[in-house]
């Protein structure tokens, strides 16, 4: 064959056809479940379409004017109407239930999931690992380990999509969304921003690198910036002056934040709220949004003073205040005393960034 066409064209065709993708890789625990529903939907669609095509083609041949010069007028049939109402309805209900089960499977993270923060901005993905690894448009993860992505956007709507894992969720300004997955096969897969986000939308792409556990640990050890997110959070906590109120001293104006993460708090209006990532973020930026019972609304807003990454650092710091942090502690932080390194005067907008942190 290659003797008959130009070698350049031949090479081009070979390259073209070997690249030809027709089905995405199944690289997460969710993927087989999603594909099973997909094949079911394809099957019922094929049957439904086949039925319609068969009816139209068969009647068109059998009752064309040459064979059937005079039409027989038929009013309709309640029985048939009921049939083709109920059968599609049942099939669609199966799709509904199956789809709902899959939805809850995809969006309900297991409790042992490893949390990674992702911030979308025009036009890149910034990934923040709790261990202090910062990545742009790349996400390194271990396989066989559930990963929860806490997503937020610092500007417009984005959407964090990994087709090989069959997961996707929008990154929305001002609110945390989560998605989770567990990779099963080592490899490199696409990350796409799928929500139109402006000029370079199509370049807001990246790669997930799924690695074996040993490879991942090696990568994590050599890629860390040296300071964990919680450590960055502690510096920021001090530099913003948070600890002047949120300390455990006798004259503290604000609540002691140890063990606050995950607890149920009663608000002034009597309702209860769980202190999760979103709650902490909201109370830092807009303290009057949730007024907790027993405290005067004296906290100033930090709107515009902390970047999304800074907020993530603070959240990470507060969520670890009960358990791990006291053990992990590497820098001195006695209550009320600003720490030495990286501290900026209170009121400045720039968060303290550790060396090696990627600032965008």
């Amino acid at each position: 064959m290659q003797h008959f066409i130009s070698p350049v064209l031949w090479q081009f065709l070979i390259k073209w056809l070997t690249y030809f993708a027709i089905f995405p890789p199944e690289a997460s625990t969710i993927a087989p479940y999603a594909d099973a529903l997909y094949f079911f939907l394809v099957a019922i669609s094929a049957v439904g379409l086949g039925a319609v095509i068969f009816l139209v083609v068969y009647f068109s041949i059998r009752y064309r004017k040459e064979l059937n010069p005079v039409a027989t007028q038929i009013e309709g049939s309640t029985l048939l109407e009921a049939t083709w109402t109920i059968i599609p309805l049942i099939l669609f209900m199966v799709c509904f239930v199956w789809g709902a089960l899959l939805y809850f499977r995809i969006y309900s993270p297991p409790t042992n999931a490893m949390n990674i923060y992702v911030v979308g901005k025009q036009w890149m993905w910034k990934v923040e690992h709790p261990g202090g690894q910062h990545e742009i448009n790349a996400l390194h993860i271990p396989i066989n380990q559930p990963i929860q992505i806490t997503l937020i956007s610092q500007d417009v709507f984005h959407s964090f999509s990994i087709p090989a894992f069959r997961v996707k969720r929008e990154a929305i300004p001002g609110r945390y969304n989560t998605e989770w997955f567990e990779a099963t096969t080592p490899g490199t897969y696409h990350i796409f921003c799928t929500q139109y986000c402006g000029t370079l939308h199509s370049q807001m792409i990246g790669e997930v690198v799924a690695m074996t556990e040993e490879d991942y640990e090696a990568w994590a050890a050599q890629s860390t910036s040296g300071n964990s997110l919680a450590q960055n959070g502690e510096r920021l906590f001090a530099s913003l002056g948070c600890n002047s109120c949120h300390n455990s001293g006798p004259n503290a104006h604000g609540p002691n934040l140890a063990n606050v993460y995950g607890s149920h708090l009663q608000l002034k209006n009597g309702s209860f709220v769980t202190a999760d990532d979103a709650f902490l973020r909201d109370t830092i930026l807009n303290p009057t949004m949730h007024e907790v019972a027993g405290f005067a609304p004296i906290m100033p807003t930090y709107q515009g003073q902390v970047s999304e990454e800074g907020l993530i650092d603070l959240v990470e710091y507060i969520r670890r205040l009960d358990t791990q942090y006291r053990i992990d502690q590497t820098i001195d932080n006695s209550a009320g005393q600003p720490i030495q390194t990286g501290a900026t005067p209170p009121g400045t907008s720039a968060p303290a960034l550790a060396p090696g942190t990627v600032k965008q």
Binding site: L41, A71, N177
Partner: protein, 553 residues
Amino acid sequence: MSTIVTLPDQRTATLPKVSYLNKEYGLKSWLLTGDHKRIAVLYLISITFFFFIGGAMAGLIRLELLTPPSDLLAADTYNKVFTAHGIIMVFLFLVPSVPATIGNFVIPIMVGAKDLAFPKINLLSWYLYVAAGCMLLWALVSGGVDTGWTFTTPLSTHYLNTHVVTAGLAVFVAGFSSIFTGLNFIVTIHRMRAPGMTWFRLPLFVWSHYAASILMVLGTPVLAITLTLVVLERTIGIGVFDPTKGGDPLLFQHLFWFYSHPAVYIMILPGMGVISEVMSTFSRKRVFGYTAVAFSSVAIAVFGFFVWAHHMFVMGISSYSALVFSLLTMLVAVPSAIKIFNWSATLYKGSITFETPMLYAFGFIGLFTIGGLTGVFLGSMGMDIHLTETYFIVAHFHFVMVGGMLMAYLSGVHFWWPKITGRMYPEGVSKLAAVITFVGFVLTFFPQFILGYLGMPRRYAAYPAEFQVLNVFSSAGASVLGVGYLLPLLYLTWSLKYGKIAGSNPWQATGLEWQIQSPPLTENFVETPIVTHEAYDYEWLESKKENEVPTVG
């Protein structure tokens, strides 16, 4: 293949001496007309103009996507091109396509009225349409707009420097054109039916337009409010959608889709009306299950209002509201299935011929079935997570909107062309165009389903190399599709002068519009018709022909 066309003898045939086309002459008689038929023709010309502009944009998109990098168009140009394509095709073509042209022309005649209830509002509707079109063209030539047709906030309000306000106001104005058309139809159908024309004697075309009109009148104001808020947010920063001011960007999504999901039914329902007429006429048989088809239109209109949040399954709405919206989405699929099966059953024991409108209608049934069934994929919450915002969505709504609605529109244009112009289109070349359109369409959009499952995101100017082969198929199909759409423009224009004279009822159809001369008189009827028969009563038509001597031809 046989045909039912009964044309007058061409040597002696003449067009009627007086008709709506030649009653008055001059530009002024057209621009200040109150005649629904002339306004329909004005609409036909203007939406054809915008259709080809939108089509040229689609051609540019497919040319760009021939190769993986964004080489033909830079990324920002590409964004402007697909935005222009979307806004023009949705608001300036699909929404007014069948209602404002064919509906405007035949609905008053079908119900036995002289005109629509408010002729001047009808004319105003066309002027608003033209104003909207001019504003949008201005936005395009003065630099373009790159929000996407969805105007997503906060991108549209805070992050773009293009002509968002002009484009938003253009859509706002176009919305009022649509509201006025809907209002006119509702009042006309309620108040101006001829004696004896009961609700259940109305052609199904009228029923589907009634359902669509309700959606236009109730849904479009929400779009107007939404766009007003976007414009205010952009100009004076009121902060309804801005999270830093305490606004909620998801609120925009709710408001926008509260209109824009019903809008897809505004677009498709009139097309379904065309298919009912065409299937019945060319099977020589009443539509199977008339009441089921009529009420399924109403059911689509009612359920259509309560499914909007299925556009937001991945946006972080609560899981329980997602459940409700997914369930309702499944329910709205059922009336569409009912229609498809009733149309298929209409063929049973018919006496079927295969004129061009019928070929387009067959195309509609096949492609709309695929479009509808893939909608079930997307309504199924877990599947939607993977498929939404990819080319699967693009393929799905093009199967419904282009494979469905555009096929129905072309079917209707060919079907009523003899009535509108008094002349026949050339049958051979038009059948060829129907087949080319079908083949080109499938080649263009079927590969996009596969691309979508692979994960290729929509609105990408550049894409990874492994998606190229399918994109090349799609672009090749688009060029075939382009030929399929250019052909009718050419031969229909040709037929205005050279087409055979049609006579009043070339298809031997039963609707009232076929019982009057082609083209009709300005007043439509010489005397008010008294209706004594059901819709699609071919036996009545036979007996009428036996008792009457044809007077036109």
